[in-house]
């Protein structure tokens, strides 16, 4: 069950114009840096990107915005990105803003074969417009549908040739959920290990959800808000 591919460029083979992609990460934490570079090299256009954030101007998905490859972003928060704002205001870019928990749960629903879920997030707000709602007990919930993703791209800390993934600290975030939602899922990892080296009890996402995996390189792992305290 060797799912290893040699390069990010080989990993993204088959991704073509106007497809729906899911990309892991929260802010710049745990984003698939190598795959994003490969997508830019590929020149693929008209993408719909499902990702909690849209990167910053010169990093992450922001780079794909610069090269005008993204038609639509489906995110919960898209701040910190001037080019994003410009394209949005000029009408070049569509954006669908979704509550973060709804985004996460719609991804999980796809990975768990559930066509839709109920969540109270957005009840009574403009997010609820046109959506079916239903009362359970005394609380109102919106019906939200599972995502349908052509290719999912995630970044993990460690992985093996079976596609088993382990994430590190808060870089887990959306990665396992994006991964489980893809019809085809690509994982890049900081460290590829032989099958059997990962403790089967420590695996965060079983390889059954991963179709291609590669050892990434030159991770920048940029920090968005460097906050520190002084040593006494």
């Amino acid at each position: 069950m060797n799912k290893t591919v040699d390069s990010p460029d080989a990993a993204i083979a088959g991704i073509s114009d106007n497809m729906v992609l899911g990309l892991g990460g929260f802010g710049l934490c745990g984003i698939p840096e190598n795959s994003i570079s490969a997508l830019i090299r590929s020149g693929v256009k008209g993408l719909t990107c499902i990702s909690n954030n849209a990167g910053v101007d010169d990093f992450g998905i922001g780079l794909m915005l610069q090269s005008k490859q993204v038609k639509k972003m489906i995110s919960s928060y898209v701040g910190e990105n001037a080019e994003f704002e410009r394209q949005l205001l000029s009408g070049e870019l569509e954006v669908d803003l979704i509550p973060q928990g709804t985004l996460a749960t719609r991804l999980m629903a796809a990975g768990y074969g559930m066509p839709a879920i109920f969540t109270p997030a957005g009840v009574g707000t403009e997010i609820a417009k046109g959506k079916e709602s239903r009362i359970f007990g005394e609380k109102e919930y919106l019906l939200e549908y599972a995502f349908d993703i052509d290719y999912s791209i995630v970044k993990a800390w460690k992985g093996d040739e079976y596609g088993n993934l382990i994430f590190r600290k808060t870089s887990r975030n959306f990665n396992p959920l994006i991964a489980m939602a893809g019809k085809i899922t690509i994982a890049e990892v900081e460290e590829m290990v032989p099958a059997g080296e990962l403790d089967p009890d420590h695996i965060h996402l079983p390889g059954i959800y991963v179709h291609r995996i590669f050892q990434g390189s030159n991770y920048e792992k940029r920090i968005e808000q460097r906050t520190v305290r002084q040593r006494n």
Binding site: C29, L97, Q100, T170, N175
Partner: protein, 218 residues
């Protein structure tokens, strides 16, 4: 009149032993600095962490360890990481005891607006809509009036809503108020040196004043 740290300090008194707490960006983040020593409290970060610790020492920042505000942080003993579905799952299931967040407007029936200003670039709601729709106990930390001098405690919100009938308490630079189930802001405490009249004139929504209003102790 309280400064930002004063508001945070007053809110910290609402945090009880054994609480799991989610702190929003801005003033709410400051609350962590004033939780009394000895109180067992676990801070949740909705990007996937229970057990937020202080900022790291310089040189010890870890790009893989951030809070929901994307700031570098540390973890405390007993912490746990998880994915975003579980994070909002525990929020939705009411496992988080207290949520503290900022707001642009709160209405007298507990509606909150804090994500969108028409005509301005919309950055998104992040996890705010999930939090306000699910949290058992929501305290808003905000200024009583906006930069134009207009009250942010209103009969009804004018801005697009983040959630409805969810705010339980509000702490501003002027006062502590609870939102009554039947509607209305009940004045509970005055900030040091602030008069009831000052609060009255800064509150556009229905203000309920019963008996003597004590000055808060922080």
């Amino acid at each position: 009149m309280l400064d930002k740290n004063g508001i945070a300090k007053r809110i910290a008194k609402e945090v009880k032993d054994g609480y799991y707490v989610n702190l929003g960006i801005g003033i709410p983040t400051l609350v962590a600095n004033y939780i009394p020593e000895g109180l067992n409290v676990v801070l949740q970060s909705e990007n996937g962490l229970l057990g937020i610790g202080p900022f790291p020492f310089e040189g010890e920042e870890d790009a893989d360890l951030i809070n929901a505000g994307k700031q570098t942080i540390t973890t405390l003993p007993g912490s746990a990481f998880f994915d975003s579905a579980m994070s909002f799952g525990m929020i939705r299931a009411g496992k988080v005891d207290l949520t503290i967040l900022g707001a642009m407007e709160v209405s007298e029936n507990g509606d909150i607006a804090n994500w969108k200003i028409p005509g301005k670039m919309v950055k998104g709601m992040g996890g705010a809509m999930d939090l306000v729709a699910s949290a058992k106990n929501i305290i808003v930390a905000m200024q009583h009036v906006n930069k134009a001098g207009e009250s942010k405690l209103l009969p009804t919100c004018s801005l697009p809503l983040t959630g409805i009938k969810c705010v339980k308490k509000i702490v501003t630079e002027l006062a502590v108020l609870s939102v009554l189930p039947e509607g209305g802001f009940q004045l509970l405490e005055r900030a040091p040196g602030v008069s009831v009249d000052q609060i009255k004139s800064a509150t556009a929504g229905k203000l309920i004043i019963e008996g003597e209003i004590p000055e808060m102790t922080i």
